[in-house]
């Protein structure tokens, strides 16, 4: 079978027939769907109350970690430069990932924090990396630090960086990764995130193929407290979880591929307001 012109009209006729036969069932299904969506919306509102968001406990733990003396050098992270100058946290997260001259590399927040731990504190990061994702009874320094630092950009707008050639280059690589189909299920990020208004089961899927509101609301609400996981999660975890479901291999934590994807997603989310930590399902 081919997509020749001669077959187009037949396809169209058949498509109409399919549409008509589906119409009757659609009306009944639509009423059910609307009820279900209302329920989900109600649940979302219920869990979005900031006063009861446990993500702020991670912010507090992160604040303590930021000023705690650690590593062979027994110093805190307070001189770490996240792009806005040593120790300057206000608005820093809104401009990450970005190019860092001292490392000659584009880094997202967790790559940069690891760099500061190693260079400033001379901290052996093996244990920190082992605890990169919190689990029951085990806190994650990285998740807590990101919660604290990102919170210092709450109310700001996402400012994707592209002035340095390496920033523009990594953003383009991120876009290529977004559309790359691979693995046993042929999935790319775009399989689920390139059309508006789609769902997996009942979970709404943000469309990242176009710049705008959906990308802004998504990227502006990470890090987030995941109720289903009882933990604050960062973009590193979100990307790891997406690749897991995509049937791709386990991505290396804080690898450049994840940074590339975040660069592309932030480009689509440019101007979105950051309100973090948020709270999600």
């Amino acid at each position: 079978m081919t997509r020749t012109n001669g077959k187009i009209s037949r396809l169209a006729t058949l498509a109409v027939a399919v549409g008509l036969s589906a119409a009757a069932g659609y009306v009944a299904a639509q009423a059910q769907t609307t009820d279900a969506e209302k329920e989900i919306e109600r649940y979302r509102e219920m869990i979005s109350d900031p006063m009861s968001n446990p993500g702020f406990l991670a912010v507090d733990r992160g604040e303590r970690l930021w000023s705690e003396k650690r590593g062979k050098n027994n110093v805190s992270l307070e001189t770490c430069d996240l792009g806005e100058g040593p120790g300057k946290l206000e608005g820093a997260y809104a401009k990450l990932p970005r190019y860092f001259k001292d490392a000659d590399k584009v880094m997202e927040i967790e790559q940069r924090l690891l760099w500061c731990m190693e260079k400033i504190q001379a901290l052996d990061t093996a244990d920190v990396i082992k605890r990169r994702f919190a689990s029951p009874g085990v806190d994650s320094d990285m998740e807590d630090l990101v919660a604290f630092i990102a919170n210092k950009s709450s109310g700001r707008r996402i400012e994707p960086q592209s002035s340095h050639p390496k920033e523009a280059e990594l953003t383009a690589i991120g876009e290529a990764l977004f559309y790359r189909r691979a693995g046993v299920m042929d999935f790319s990020c775009a399989t689920c995130h390139a059309e508006p208004g789609k769902r997996i089961r009942l979970q709404g899927l943000p469309d990242f193929s176009k710049p705008g509101k959906q990308a802004q609301e998504t990227m502006g609400s990470w890090p987030t407290y995941r109720v289903s996981q009882s933990a604050l999660r960062t973009m590193q975890h979100r990307m790891w979880d997406c690749m897991r479901q995509q049937r791709w291999p386990n991505p290396d934590y804080a690898s450049d591929g994840i940074t590339a994807l975040v660069m592309f997603l932030n480009k689509q989310a440019a101007g979105g307001e950051i309100t973090v930590p948020s709270i999600k399902r």
Partner: protein, 204 residues
């Protein structure tokens, strides 16, 4: 042939239309290097899954919009991988088929070895009209067999579609369940029964 086109039209309606944006294209060698680095610590078997086959390459580069010639080549190549059921029977047990359709594990790095493998059909499709928790990435399959009068030719064509969606529609978003050896022949038959058995809730 008509029936194949019929099915293809239904899927074509909901096909993704991801359009390329105006941005400088990434250097393919650098993309590959990033991928290699990203998965440097996983086993060679897992690393192999990041290599694109010819079909994945065309669908990636064209963002699921292959030209007519590419589409024809994909469908021809993928159709050649479709294996008909050994005993000639397309329909298994619809109750087991529900389990296959309702199971979302398999193929994930987090899965326990030897754990259940399913097609996770509900993630993308409506099937049993009474089930409210269904996805919308694919078209609704509610009443699928009934609406097609359980036509033997449609059953045969649907086998092809489920076995390898790209044999019917190039760069379809749907996985190539049979050709990728993701589902067994028995599982494919059970899912088929879930779609075509008169007793299946899909047709109630």
């Amino acid at each position: 042939m008509n029936k194949t086109i019929f099915i293809a039209a239904a899927f074509a309606l909901s096909a993704t239309t991801a359009m390329a944006q105006n941005a400088p294209a990434a250097d393919p060698a650098k993309v590959d290097a990033i991928i290699k680095d990203m998965f440097a610590k996983v086993s060679p078997e897992w690393q192999a899954r990041t290599n694109l086959d010819e079909t994945q390459r065309v669908c990636t580069d064209s963002r699921n919009q292959p030209n007519a010639q590419q589409a024809e080549a994909i469908q021809k190549r993928e159709l050649a991988t479709v294996v008909q059921p050994a005993d000639g029977k397309f329909l298994g047990d619809w109750k087991k088929g529900f389990q296959v359709a309702n199971t979302g594990t398999g193929g994930q790095f987090s899965d326990r070895p030897g754990g259940p493998i399913g097609a996770n059909c509900f993630a993308c499709h409506q099937m049993d009209p009474k089930e409210l928790s269904y996805g919308t990435l694919g078209p609704s399959l509610a009443g699928y067999g009934k609406d097609r009068n359980y036509d033997p030719q449609v059953i045969k064509d649907t086998w092809t579609k489920v076995y390898n969606a790209q044999a019917v529609f190039a760069c379809s978003n749907m996985p190539r369940f049979g050709s990728m050896k993701f589902l067994t022949e028995a599982q494919l038959k059970d899912v088929m029964a879930y779609l075509f058995d008169k007793e299946s809730p899909v047709n109630k």
